[in-house]
């Protein structure tokens, strides 16, 4: 594999991982306060369609991304109201909402299938940096959304581990009763972060239709929401590991195509499952390591409804 091809391949892997990275970062925030939004795939789909329609109508990808975020937020709030406020089981509600999203977007979006995008997110080469050999090609010829997505986990890490609010968030996820006693609104903040996670997942979805495939198709997310969900576990609820996880997945999924182009002689089906097998393998490795350390890394109250007292 020559030098330039490797750099371009890394650039492709980073580019296509953007949606997953943004959605996974949002999901991390949600899970840190003790809720897992398993409907992530559905939220991304809603964002993907709304973003695309808004982009088509207004001709602006910025408005498209914003609309995707707003729609994702609204859809996630449905999940939030049912699970956080009404305390219904998150898995059941989440799976149901995914099906709702799939069916609804397929029906509403049918007239947008294979319609050419009038607006798309352009690449923004960073001056100076993008002309560096290798690294410039690999990292600095992406879209603005990708650069922001790269920075997002660092921002989240700062908020979580360097601010008082981050301490409160972690308290809600670890011990909501204690947090409640300390005067922190458990339900309020949980709802707030479900909404924030929804915004990010919606933007991630819109990035797929406006930045990656530049079109809408039924089930266009094709499981990226599930991968984002898995990456949060994979990352052990550590923001910077989200970055690693998203790019690891992206690299494996591009590797499948690269192997074929290079003629490595491995069956293409093996390449197709590679990212998923790889993700499961790393998660098992992580679980095994944790077991030997005798500690768990997930928020202790993750998935548990909050009852005062």
């Amino acid at each position: 594999m020559d030098y330039q091809f490797l750099a371009l391949t890394i650039a492709t892997a980073i580019g296509i991982s953007t949606a997953i990275l943004v959605a996974a970062t949002g999901e991390l925030l949600v899970e840190k306060v003790g809720v897992y939004n398993i409907a992530l795939e559905g939220v991304m789909l809603v964002g993907a369609l709304t973003g695309f329609i808004a982009g088509q109508t207004t001709g602006s990808w910025v408005l498209g991304l914003i609309a995707g975020g707003v729609a994702g937020c609204a859809f996630a709030m449905v999940f939030g109201l049912i699970t956080v406020v009404l305390r219904t089981d998150m898995i059941v509600v989440g799976v149901a909402l995914i099906l709702v999203a799939l069916g609804t977007t397929q029906t509403i979006g049918s007239s947008y299938v294979a319609v050419e995008a009038v607006t798309k997110i352009p690449n923004a080469d960073i001056p100076v940096l993008s002309s560096l050999p290798f690294i410039g090609t690999a990292l600095f010829q992406q879209t603005w959304v990708t650069y922001i997505a790269m920075a997002l986990p660092f921002v989240v890490a700062f908020i979580l581990f360097r601010t008082r609010h981050g301490l409160n968030m972690r308290a809600i996820g670890e011990n909501p009763n204690a947090a409640d006693t300390a005067g922190i609104s458990v339900i309020g903040w949980r709802l707030f972060y479900v909404a924030v996670g929804g915004v990010l997942a919606g933007v991630g979805g819109a990035y797929i239709t406006l930045g990656i495939v530049d079109s809408w198709a039924g089930n266009v997310t094709a499981g990226q929401g599930w991968i984002a969900f898995a990456i949060v576990f994979f990352a052990g609820w550590q923001p910077l590991w989200i970055l690693v996880g998203a790019y690891f997945f992206g690299a494996l999924s591009v590797l499948g195509d690269v192997g074929q182009v290079m003629g490595w002689g491995v069956p293409s089906e093996a390449f197709t499952v590679l990212p998923y097998v790889g993700t499961v393998a790393v998660m098992m490795l992580r679980a095994w390591k944790q077991k030997s350390k005798g500690a768990v890394s997930w928020p202790a109250a993750l998935g548990l409804p909050f009852y005062r007292g």
Binding site: A11, S110, V113, M262, E269
Partner: protein, 399 residues
């Protein structure tokens, strides 16, 4: 992953989408029987007497309900679009009503969809998806109720079934010539759904066509393991460009390949549909799978009670459709294509239409071994059925 992680979900989703597909399926209803409408208007003015309508009313209109099965969504921008053209052409035959069912999966569910369509009154099933035995089994159960058409090699078939195919090796050869004349890197790429015979014919034709005008030409293939997945097609197309390919081609269904080509500033040749309007700056030309003439003919034959099965033995009875006007042909050329390139590609295609065989030895396999001796012509049967190795200059993973 979507296949494993959310199997129950996918099943349910399939149901949901099936319901959606059924309810939204475009009954491109052509009930507008043109025969009778004209007469009443002419009551007061008997002027144009020579255009006497009765001539038409001699042939009784035989009602015929035809259901088409598609893989992937309606209006996918490629393969389904061109099949819908043929479906709607069939619908122009007086008495014929057509409707389409989309997102038919390659699974037992396809059989259920077919049974349901027959229960809903379909007298003819046209399968564009290659669901094979999922279709033929149901047809065998309904010998006297339905006629079945498969747009591929469906294997042994019951007596009420027929298959059609087109010489994609020829179309691909023409596409390869176009690519070979335009490429600068001498590397051309293709995004291919699965490792299936159709892919081997298409890629070999593409490679030999390219090498006929450009001996250094290499073809790189990426299998997507799906017919319709825009994200995967985009990713695969980008990797091909990264690896130096400057002409992309699709054997997959949608337009992602040429969108990537537009973005990366490389060329593309389209397959199935005419992609020139979707990607005006990258599409050199397209190989258009227009089945309209054949479908219209078949509908009329069924109405006349003259259905002919292509038999149960597969190939010899499946006559590849004639290429040229009114059938599979070359699409619009890009405005940027030099006139001499266009003339050369069109000239080769015209020779094909006249019956010239471009598949003549020596032909070498990927390892450089001579598989077809100099001067030996490959016949249609081999081209359609027997070709299970890639030619020299093709890079593709082996299954």
């Amino acid at each position: 992953m979507r296949n494993r992680k959310i199997v129950p979900a996918v099943l349910l989703v399939g149901l949901v989408s099936l319901v959606a597909a059924c309810s939204s399926s475009t009954p491109a209803a052509t009930e507008a029987a043109p025969a009778a409408t004209e007469a009443p208007a002419a009551t007061e003015a008997p002027a144009a007497t020579e255009a006497a309508a009765p001539a038409v009313s001699e042939a009784p209109v035989v009602p015929l309900n035809i259901t088409w099965l598609y893989t992937g969504p309606e209006n996918d921008g490629g393969y389904n679009v061109i099949n819908e053209v043929a479906m709607n052409a069939m619908g122009t035959v007086p008495g014929v009503k057509v409707n389409g069912i989309f997102d038919v999966p390659y699974s037992d569910e396809a059989s259920q969809i077919t049974r349901q369509a027959i229960a809903n009154g379909a007298q003819v099933i046209v399968d564009t998806t290659g669901i094979g035995t999922y279709l033929t089994d149901v047809c065998a159960e309904n010998l006297d109720k339905v006629y079945c058409y498969s747009g591929a090699d469906a294997g042994p078939q019951p007596a009420n079934s027929a298959s059609w195919w087109l010489p994609d090796w020829d179309l691909s050869y023409a596409a390869g010539v176009a690519a070979g004349l335009m490429t600068k890197s001498n590397i051309i790429g293709a995004v291919v759904p699965y490792e299936i015979p159709i892919a081997v014919q298409g890629i070999n034709g593409y490679a030999l066509g390219c090498q006929s005008v450009n001996p250094a030409c290499e073809v790189k293939v990426v299998y997507m393991n799906s017919y319709f997945d825009p994200t995967a097609a985009t990713k695969a197309s980008k990797t091909l460009v990264n690896a130096g390919a400057d002409v992309l081609r699709n054997l997959t269904d949608d337009a992602s390949f040429c969108k990537v080509a537009e973005e990366e500033g490389v060329y593309a040749v389209g397959e199935y549909n005419d992609f020139a309007s979707a990607c005006p700056n990258s599409i050199i030309t397209s190989t258009v799978w227009d089945f309209s003439d054949y479908m219209i003919e078949e509908a009329k034959e069924i109405q006349a009670g003259m259905f002919q099965s292509t038999g149960d033995s597969g190939f010899p009875e499946i006559t590849p459709l004639k290429i040229g006007l009114g059938g599979p042909r070359l699409g619009t050329f890009g405005a940027f294509v030099p006139a001499d390139v266009k003339a050369q590609v069109e000239g080769i295609f015209a020779e094909m239409v006249d019956g010239k065989n471009f598949f003549v030895g020596p032909i070498y396999d990927q390892k450089g071994k001579e598989k077809v001796k100099a001067g030996v012509e490959l016949d249609d049967k081999f081209l359609f059925h027997g070709w299970d190795w890639y030619v020299k200059g093709v890079t593709a993973s082996e299954g």
